[in-house]
Structure formats: C-alpha cells, structure tokens
Symmetry: none
Subunit: 120 residues, 4 copies
DNA sequence: GTGGTCTAGACCACT
DNA sequence: GTGGTCTAGACCACG
C-alpha cells in the first residue's frame, strides 16, 4: 500500500504522511478503519518505528486519525478535510495558471491541455 | 529587487536563484545585462557572500548566466530556457488537474476558475 | 450513564473513574447504592473487564466505594469528599484567574463573564 | 529561565513548549529574539538535544517561533496568539465555574474568592 | 557553528 | 500486544 522512494528528497515520515492522507481522503482507507501498527509498518517498510511514529503523530495532529493507547490508530471522519483539500487544489491550480500567464503562456493553451486532460 | 524571506523554509541560496530565474525568464533582466557583484548583493541583503556565490554558481550551471573572471556575471541568452519553462508550467498544471480530479474535483469547476482567472 | 470517548487521550479506566466520581459527588448515585457489576459494565461498554476492575479499584482506594466480596460494589458516604472537591474547584478557579491576569486579562472581564454565567 | 520538573507527569518536551509559550506570550521573550540553540539548551538542562528539537518543532508548528536552518530559532510576532490565549483563559474559567456550580459551590463564594484575588 | 532526519534501543503506561 | 517518551549517536544541509 505504501512505497518508500529513497530517491525522493523529502523525509521518510513526510512521504508516509502524504501517502496516508491520499489514501484516507480518497476513501481507500475509511473512517474507523485501523491503521497498521507502528511496529508492523516499520517492519514491512524496513525502517525505524520512530519514523512511523512521527508520521502517525503528524496525521493525528492534523485530524486524519486518532490514537487509542494500547489499541492502535484509527481513521477519523474526514468529510470536512476532503472539502478543504479540494478547495486547496483548485486554488493551487489557479495560482499556477496566473504564474504561467506571467511567463507568457497562452491561457487558451492551458484550457486546451486540460480539456484533453492528461497529455504530458 | 530581491527580498529574502527568513520565514521561508527554503535555503537562502535557493530563494535567490529562483527569484533571479524569474527576473531573467520574464525579461526583467535581459540577455547581456550585468548582475550585481557577489559582494554588493551580499551587502545589500546582509547575508554571507558565500551564499550569493553559491546562488550564482547554480545559475551558471543551469545556463542562465555566464561568468567573466575579473569582470562579473552576465545574463545568457535564455530563449530556449523560456520555452522549457513554459512547457514545464503547462505540464505541471495538467498533472495537478489530473490529481485534483482524482480527489473528486469537477473539471468544469477548474475550467471556470481559470476562465475567471483568479483564485477559487 | 457512562460513555467512552475513544478520541479522548486519557486512559479508559480514568475516564470511567472520573465519570463515576462525578455521578457520586453530584448525588446522582447515592450512598449505599450498588454499582453495576464489573462484568455487566464491561459488556455494556464493550471493553475489557480488567479495565473496569482497575477503575473500581481506584474508586475504592480513594474512598468513593467499598467492595463486599461476592456481593458487589457499593457507594460510600462521601460527605467529606464533596467538601474537598468543592474547595479544590474553588482553588483551581482562583489559580487560573491569577494566571489569566498575568496574561493581561482584565479581572473585571472575568467577573462579568461569571455573573453572566456562560462562556466568553 | 526554564526549569525541568521531573516530578511533573507531563513529558519533558511539553513542559518546555508550555514554558516557552508563557515567556513569549507574556512578552518576556520578544518578537525577533533568538532562542537558545538546540544544543546549548540541551546542555544547560542536561537533557537530550532531540527533546529540545521536538519542543521547538512544536512551537514552530503553532506559530510561536520560526526556524532558519543553519541560523537558529527566532520568536514570531504573536499578537493574535496573545488574544487567542486570553479568550481561551476566560472561556476555560467560565467552564470551570459552571462545573463548580453543578457540584454545589455557591457562585457568590467564587466571586468573593476572585475579588480577594489569590487566597489558597 | 546551526537545525533536520534517521537509527537503535530502552523504558513506561495501557489493554 | 499497543502507542509514547527519551537517550545516544550518527549523518546531512546550510551559512
């Protein structure tokens, strides 16, 4: 479910939190589901339990999961977080479009790119 | 012309290279223009000359400027770099649109956002 | 009567003892009343009987209840404990007022808040 | 400036963040001031640098300080945080008054306690 | 010199 | 078994 990319310059714990957020926000892991235990995930990914611990702490801090001591980590209800993320993604795209236009990109080219949806 | 943001988590030299690239690609500094000297810019920004040196070295490595020993640093002809950047910006926007759609954002919302050309 | 909040960071047994103390000190459960049995309460709350056991042991240790082997757990006479708690609550509020004043809160604002007896 | 209380059940890093927040919100450490370095403070308090690191990371996350890599940690402008804290303290006191009244404390006693400001 | 990340290993509290 | 805290020590990037 989660793959560590050692060529990625971001720290391991951030790769894990980001991937987990995606899985949760996209509904692949659902509200109430239990996450793999700190130790198990550490073994599976062959990294230190403290790194997983840090990732999970960050997820809890941001409201994606909640922790029950002695029981494990569980996914929270993230309805509002999904909406926040969607708005953020829209705003982010707009900002980049504005930036691109400043560099001389034709806005029609961008609209066409998107309509064809994908390209590369 | 250049403002350092100490609350920015990026290293200083990267803030400087990025800002310089923008100024060059947007044509605000033109091909053949001379950049401020390492010492002067360091004084002006109140930072270590080594940091400016590193920023300029990076700009030279990427072809934005060239150095004449004993004379100073000059802006290269960046015609092709501008086109590269424009393509990169378009690709980047497309990638993010694809990502946003995966999170459930309606592509029509994005197109409307862009047509109104502003924030969401 | 008792609700477990799994998102509460406190241990389960502490949530139970605290809630029980409130019920007893507020007189909702009275001196001589029998508490639900360890097994029943465990079943009702869907948690481990050991956890209930620990909560009851703590309540007994602090004098809120007494245990009759083979019969069950009964509420003690808690007259003095009620007074202790009231004094503790008054002291606690005063400490916090002193602290708030140190942060620049106007003591008149606090008095008004309390007279209106609600949130700020 | 900071004293560790080993009898305090809270984790060390939390004691440090809380104490630092107080110093900052009360204006004892001011906006722009540099905090002691991670290593220095660790030596001074005879605890592990990682623990200081965690405390500082938390302070940065909550907006009390900002970090410049290779330079150190500096106090942010916390005007709004001060107001937040004051409102939170007022609300907290009110909640406790409501709670105390439920336990049978006379609200006039509380008001008198506060007017005398302090007692114990 | 500064902070940031990661590992290894220990100990504790809770269930 | 679970997570939470702390230590010790290493390595890296930045200035």
């Amino acid at each position: 479910m989660i793959v560590i990319d050692y060529k990625d310059s971001r720290p391991l714990y951030e790769q894990i939190t980001d991937k987990m957020k995606d899985l949760i926000l996209k509904g692949i892991i659902r509200s109430g589901d239990q996450l793999p235990s700190v130790r198990n995930l550490a073994m599976e990914l062959s990294i230190n339990p403290n790194t997983i611990q840090r990732a999970y702490a960050e997820l809890e801090r941001e409201g994606y999961i909640y922790t029950v001591k002695g029981r494990g980590n569980y996914v929270s209800d993230v309805g509002s977080l999904v909406e926040d993320r969607k708005m953020q993604l829209r705003k982010d795209i707009c900002d980049r479009v504005v930036c691109a236009v400043e560099f001389g990109v034709d806005i029609e080219d961008i609209l066409n790119d998107i309509r064809e949806r994908g390209q590369a």
